[in-house]
């Protein structure tokens, strides 16, 4: 039994059903948001001095686009954040745009939902559509998609670790917020100097400096390698045009795979260096001050949809999604309080609801009957499920007690869930199973990754499931995720060579657009984790299309039950560890907490200076947005 809040139970054959005798199984009892109480409570409260609180806003988090704002309250006596609201600032509107269109348009249009990793949206859209059309790609088509997505992760992860999160731990930043750590770093040898080449921690932190640091610059360069890998498989990147229902339309040749393999080889050394780098950075900060374990910490509740299909298992059907989902290189799964509860995609799908109590939307369930009471297999789904959802924007002013974000609040079994690159490693590690292969092994409490020799010798990386989900472990996990991804890339390219040698070179299948009613879902993952596109089509047109991205989960506002979203949870309780006076606090630990999620909005360090918000039109990543 994996549900404890939704009244879903399973019969002896494992079929889900709603428990009998419940009039309204998906009733929502709205609770007041759990706000921080600004005055002391209890005995002696009247004589106690009120806490020294400071409202602290990171608004806009991006300098001009204003896609994300985070409003916090710092308790300067306790030196920690005691309140947080995460506010997505822009309406995306893809769901509205896609209504009434040919479903194939969704591949290209939804690609633009993310300015960082458009390939994942094209891919998941193609998955949803091929499920609706009842077609399945040939095995090599599945592998080409896998390889393209491996490449895309090597575009995404270096950007985050090198250019977005990395500078938070660089000499140039730390010298301002914690100069004593720079002094300590100068006399602390780097444990993995033999891998990354930096003798002291100060040398390593110098390498993270913006624009000049070696790791910063190398990371920028490696995004080129990731992009080339994508182009070898997709013909074009960003925003590939070759992802189609039933495979890819790229003209693939022997040289496509050879060139891809060459680029993948270049990646191996970078993966080794980044794992060593983030091991050293995380360990240095945690040893210097164990309080860093609390920065960005929240309960280990993770939701993942899994990615990278087994070409012999994947059949594109919803009916068999638990079987092919279970064969993915990175497993889908639900982790609650650190325990893996399920890896079944149907369990994940039927437990997801989206709420708009604190979002700039109208509740579509009011006065309407849900389109669907169950998924195509008869598993019950909520009126708040994506297949029943309607996007009804209702712009209005910000009010933290009422509505304050363009992001909605997805929940699984009505619980606050986080997703991430590290999440798919977490599910795969805890499941304790990986296909027989020479590069990757799930050990039940971690992952063993073997990276072949390139410039550096062959190396074994061992990622252990952390005891705490916090900012440093998210970054460490993401660094190891590169090795994880490279190992999967090796397996997929070798398998692709096998099909190629055997003459099984087809990468797509013909199809016709069905005219009857179809319901489908694409399950995939973005660089940041969970990704679904839910499709309802009829008469050859889209009736409803719903996109649920990683940052929809992570940046979500409070839900109707009063629970904060993951960013909000991670900020509350984050200690202010800066060694400077109150008036010089930069909020770096809060920013580290937010950035560790790799928010889809570029999470820059611009604090509210009181000079106001510059607004302009942008075309960008709107992953958190509707």
């Amino acid at each position: 039994m994996c549900f404890k809040n939704l009244p879903i139970e399973f019969d002896l054959d494992g079929n889900a059903r709603l428990r009998d005798g419940i009039d309204d199984p998906y009733a929502v009892t709205v609770a007041a948001p759990k706000e921080y109480v600004r005055l002391p409570d209890g005995p002696g409260a009247t004589s106690a001095a009120p806490p020294r609180l400071r409202d602290w806003s990171i608004d806009p988090v991006t300098r001009v686009a204003g896609a994300l704002a985070v409003h916090t309250v710092l308790d300067l006596d306790k030196r920690e954040a005691v309140e947080a609201h995460s506010q997505a600032m822009l309406f995306r509107g893809y769901e509205v745009i896609l209504k009434g269109r040919d479903p194939r348009d969704a591949i290209d249009i939804s690609s633009r939902a993310c300015g960082v990793c458009g390939g994942v949206h094209s891919t998941v859209s193609a998955l949803a559509i091929e499920q609706a059309f009842g077609i399945c790609p040939p095995p090599l088509g599945v592998l080409v998609r896998n390889l393209g997505e491996v490449g895309e992760m090597f575009y995404d992860h270096p950007l985050h670790l090198g250019l977005l999160a990395g500078p938070d731990y660089s000499t140039s930043i730390v010298a301002v917020t914690n100069p004593e750590l720079v002094t300590l770093a100068e006399r602390t040898p780097a444990r993995h100097a033999d891998v990354h080449g930096f003798k002291t921690m100060k040398d390593l932190m110098d390498a993270l400096n913006p624009l000049t640091g070696k790791i910063y610059l190398e990371s920028l360069e490696y995004t080129r390698v990731g992009r080339i890998m994508c182009m070898q498989m997709y013909g074009k990147y960003p925003h590939p045009s070759t992802l189609v229902p039933g495979g890819v339309s790229t003209t693939i040749s022997t040289s496509s795979f050879n060139e891809y393999y060459t680029q993948l080889g270049k990646i191996f050394d970078y993966c080794k260096v980044m794992a060593a780098t983030w091991d050293d950075i995380a360990d240095f900060f945690l040893e210097a001050n164990p309080e860093y374990e609390r920065v960005g910490a929240r309960p280990t509740n993770l939701i993942q949809t899994g990615i990278w299909d087994d070409p012999e298992a994947y059949d594109a059907t919803y009916a068999n999604c638990n079987e092919w989902g279970d064969k993915r290189w990175a497993l889908p799964g639900i982790i609650l309080d650190g325990e893996l509860r399920t890896t079944r995609l149907t369990d994940i799908n039927m437990g997801v609801e989206e709420f708009v109590e604190h979002s700039y939307y109208d509740d579509w369930t009011v006065g309407t009957t849900p389109r669907f009471a169950a998924d195509p297999l008869g598993n019950p789904i909520s009126p708040y499920h994506a297949w029943n959802k309607e996007t009804i924007p209702r712009p209005q002013g910000k009010n933290f007690k009422e509505k304050y974000s363009w992001d909605c609040a997805p929940r699984w079994d009505r619980q606050v869930m986080e997703t991430g690159t590290y999440g798919r490693m977490w599910t795969t590690a805890l499941a304790g199973r990986t296909p027989d292969n020479p590069f990757l092994e799930s050990t039940g409490d971690g992952l063993r990754i073997v990276l072949p020799r390139h410039g550096l010798p062959e190396m074994e990386l061992n990622w252990k499931v952390p005891r705490t989900l916090n900012a440093l472990e998210r970054n460490r996990g993401r660094a190891y995720a590169m090795g994880f991804t490279a190992a999967i890339g090796m397996n997929c390219i070798l398998k692709a060579f096998e099909y190629w040698r055997n003459g099984e070179t087809a990468v797509s299948v013909p199809y016709k657009v069905p005219k009857d009613e179809r319901v489908a879902v694409g399950f995939w993952e973005a660089g940041r984790g969970f990704l679904t596109h839910h499709l309802h089509m009829d008469g050859g047109k889209i009736v409803n299309y719903q996109i649920n991205t990683p940052s929809t989960w992570n940046a979500s506002p409070r839900d109707p039950f009063g629970n904060p979203g993951p960013y909000e949870q991670a900020i509350v309780g984050t200690p202010i560890l800066e060694s400077v006076s109150d008036e010089n606090v930069k909020g770096i630990d809060i920013l580290r907490a937010i950035r560790s999620f790799d928010p889809c909005m570029p999470c820059t360090t611009h604090m509210d200076t009181g000079r106001g918000v510059i607004v302009r039109e942008v075309n960008s990543c709107g992953c958190t947005l509707e």
């Binding site: 991006t62 300015g115 977005l164 624009l211 570029p602 999470c603 075309n619 960008s620």
Partner: protein, 165 residues
């Protein structure tokens, strides 16, 4: 210098006049151009444009896009030879940080590629002042009226022969 001539459009898809750069390239790429002229949609993040420029090493670049400067009437064309002096590193870092998050912006592109000296001395920027910045397809009247003049300027810059009328 033996590299090609690059004509690049920078636009914001589906935002009417703001998509000028992209749509301009789409409209004119099938016309007759000298063999060494590459027409490309460069409507992607600045560092990706940097990588592209480093790959093709053009001897001449013409960048086209709509930029709301709000100082000229809609449809105004601003054509200038780019000063290749890069902005201060702090500004480059800020712009690059936004760009890697996916923001498409001509100014971000100009800042980042100049920092890494990826543009040739012969670089021209042709900006059009937009009128309609809303969601949708097609240009506003003043911007539509500017298309032919922009095309003439681009042809002039790349040394292309005017098509016969």
């Amino acid at each position: 210098m033996t590299g090609p001539v690059l004509v690049g459009g920078v636009g914001l898809p589906w935002l009417r006049d703001l998509d000028f750069g992209t749509q301009f390239i789409v409209r004119v790429e099938s016309e007759s151009w000298p063999d060494d002229v590459i027409l490309e949609d460069l409507s992607y993040a600045a560092h990706r444009v940097l990588h592209r420029l480093q790959e093709i090493v053009p001897r001449k670049v013409v960048l086209v896009g709509a930029m709301p400067r709000d100082v000229d009437p809609p449809g105004t064309i601003r054509c200038y030879t780019l000063d290749l002096t890069p902005p201060p590193p702090e500004e480059v870092h800020e712009r690059l940080t936004e760009a890697v998050g996916g923001i498409i912006d001509l100014d971000h592109t100009l800042a980042v590629v100049r920092h890494w000296h990826a543009l040739p001395e012969d670089t021209t920027v042709i900006e059009v002042e937009p009128a309609d910045r809303s969601f949708g397809l097609g240009f506003s009247e003043p911007v539509e009226a500017a298309v032919e003049e922009v095309l003439r300027l681009v042809r002039q810059k790349v040394g292309a022969i005017e098509p016969r009328t």
